[in-house]
């Protein structure tokens, strides 16, 4: 069932079990599908009660100073809508005729899981449990009594990741690597690239040192639903303002057209970039009024529309594939963090 699938996607998104790619897909849906957003909010509400049982931990006092600095009347939303009446409460009085049977095993399991500490090596953790200044909402938190279990620093187990990727026919990391290779080849031997993929003015992208992201002129987005089946590959040249869309595994449907959308952020409507995919390669100049920052940070989506594209200027058919642009060269390691005093 499509609706069931959508709801399960929403549930797993809230639960947290989606993979990175699936999360991106869900986030794209969240930004323009109000039905999906409603499903997500419902699941947040259903599962949110579990937070009551998480023990509260005092953050460092300096944290407030940092937050305070970032927060000013300038950063507040420009037009704060009229606040909802403080008298309205959202707690529903569950008038259950029978006392709910909460198996002690479930409650016990939940609290067992919570009591296992995760790398709480800060010495204040012990006093935190006693000195909580009404910080918790709901029942008092459980005082952690299990010994603090030391955990090493974030161990990114590369061997494990590689093993997992080998199982995939073409994982996301592999695609990124392939695309990086493509870009390298296009610099060195452009004749090897099919003519449609060569964009005018391809050139070496200089990397600038220093803080902040190096600006990339070449963006790549892989539009897909599952990591094993990229449907469309999109390359964008922000200098020449052209894009090339390559239909990879999406099947052509008679009487329907694929349409490409740019979704800049959650509050703007998706922007059509036209029908794509009738040929294997579609090359197009981007509309003049799309700014480069949007191109970099947007989500791209492909929907299935009636032949010729959406009649309404907004997606009318299902959004099938989504992706975000990535820098087309392998990222350099992040600059070292300045030492904290």
């Amino acid at each position: 069932m499509f609706e069931e699938d959508q709801d399960t996607l929403a549930a797993e998104y809230v639960l947290g079990t989606l993979s990175a790619e699936e999360r991106e897909h869900a986030e794209a849906l969240l930004s323009f599908d109000p039905g999906f957003e409603a499903a997500v909010r419902q699941w947040e509400r259903r599962l949110g009660e579990l937070n009551v049982m998480v023990e509260a931990v005092e953050p460092p006092a300096e944290l407030w100073d940092k937050i305070k600095k970032e927060v000013s009347p300038d950063t507040a939303p420009a037009d704060a809508e009229a606040a909802h009446s403080p008298d309205s409460t959202s707690t529903t009085e569950a008038a259950s005729p029978h006392d709910l049977d909460v198996p002690s095993t479930v409650a016990a399991m939940a609290s067992d899981l919570l009591l296992v500490e995760k790398a709480l090596s800060s010495p204040s953790a012990e006093t935190a449990a006693d000195a909580l200044p009404h910080a918790s909402i709901g029942p008092p938190p459980l005082a952690p009594q299990s010994p603090h279990l030391e955990r090493g620093a974030d161990v990114i187990d590369l061997a494990k990741r590689v093993r997992r990727w080998r199982g995939l026919t073409i994982g996301f990391g592999a695609i990124a690597a392939l695309l990086a290779a493509y870009i390298a080849v296009s610099q060195v031997a452009p004749d090897l690239i099919p003519p449609q993929l060569r964009t005018a003015g391809a050139r070496l992208i200089a990397r600038t040192e220093g803080a902040g992201r190096a600006q990339q002129d070449r963006l790549v987005a892989v539009l897909q639903q599952q990591p094993t089946a990229p449907a469309f590959l999109l390359t964008v040249d922000t200098q020449s303002r052209t894009m090339v869309v390559r239909r990879v595994s999406a099947t052509l449907e008679t009487g329907r057209s694929y349409e490409l959308w740019l979704i800049a952020n959650r509050s703007t409507a998706p922007r059509s970039l036209g029908v794509v995919g009738n040929d294997e390669f579609t090359q197009r100049t981007l509309p003049g009024n799309v700014d480069v920052d949007s191109l970099r940070s947007a989500t791209y989506a492909v929907s299935l529309e009636p032949s010729g594209g959406s009649p309404s200027g907004a997606p009318t058919g299902p959004i099938l594939f989504t992706g975000k642009a990535v820098e087309s060269l392998p990222a350099s390691p992040p600059p070292p963090k300045p030492a904290k005093t």
């Binding site: 509400r45 606040a83 909402i137």
Partner: protein, 181 residues
């Protein structure tokens, strides 16, 4: 301890740019959010970062909070959790050999919350969870509290990933049916 209504009032004031209300809101909610984040992220430095991002988002989006759809703390925790899970997913899996064995806890752990300390929604959720098989309950709780991915769950519980996927799907459908709303 602030009541639901008080928190809603604070959020409404924050939506109008009231910095004092924001400070109060922070005071009332910081430890809960920090606890949730530490559990998922493990490292205090990461938790600090996400705390900052979360409260900045709360400051900016307070006007969008709808008390008919969520409670203040649930709304704020959802913002924090979302960001935390984004980070954990993208960073790649943290080696779970370092994960303490979540399922075998020493006998001297404190008892769970007394039933009278739970609100109605929590009771309802726990009773619905209670209808699932213990293995499925474990998976749902581990996923929610610790932010484990399907792969981590599969590895830790020695169950194939596809089974985890199926079980999650079924469990969530059953929870939805059981909770009704």
């Amino acid at each position: 301890m602030l009541t639901q209504a008080e928190l809603i009032g604070l959020l409404a004031a924050v939506a109008k740019g009231d910095a004092a209300a924001f400070e109060q809101l922070y005071g009332a909610t910081r430890a809960k959010l920090y606890g949730v984040l530490l559990r998922i992220l493990g490292r205090p430095e990461l938790a600090d970062e996400v705390m900052q991002e979360t409260y900045l988002k709360v400051w900016k989006m307070a006007a969008k909070f709808d008390p008919t759809v969520a409670s203040p703390i649930t709304w704020m925790v959802a913002i924090a959790r979302n960001r935390a899970i984004d980070i954990v997913r993208k960073k790649g899996e943290v080696s779970i050999e370092d994960e303490p064995d979540a399922l075998n806890v020493a006998a001297d752990t404190p008892p769970p919350l007394a039933r009278r300390e739970m609100n109605e929604e929590l009771k309802r959720l726990l009773s619905c969870l209670g209808k699932l098989d213990p293995e499925k309950q474990r998976i749902v709780l581990l996923a929610y509290y610790s932010g484990w991915s399907r792969d981590q769950l599969a590895k830790k519980l020695d169950i194939p990933v596809n089974t985890i996927k199926t079980w999650l799907r079924r469990s969530l459908l059953e929870i939805r049916a059981c909770m009704g709303t």
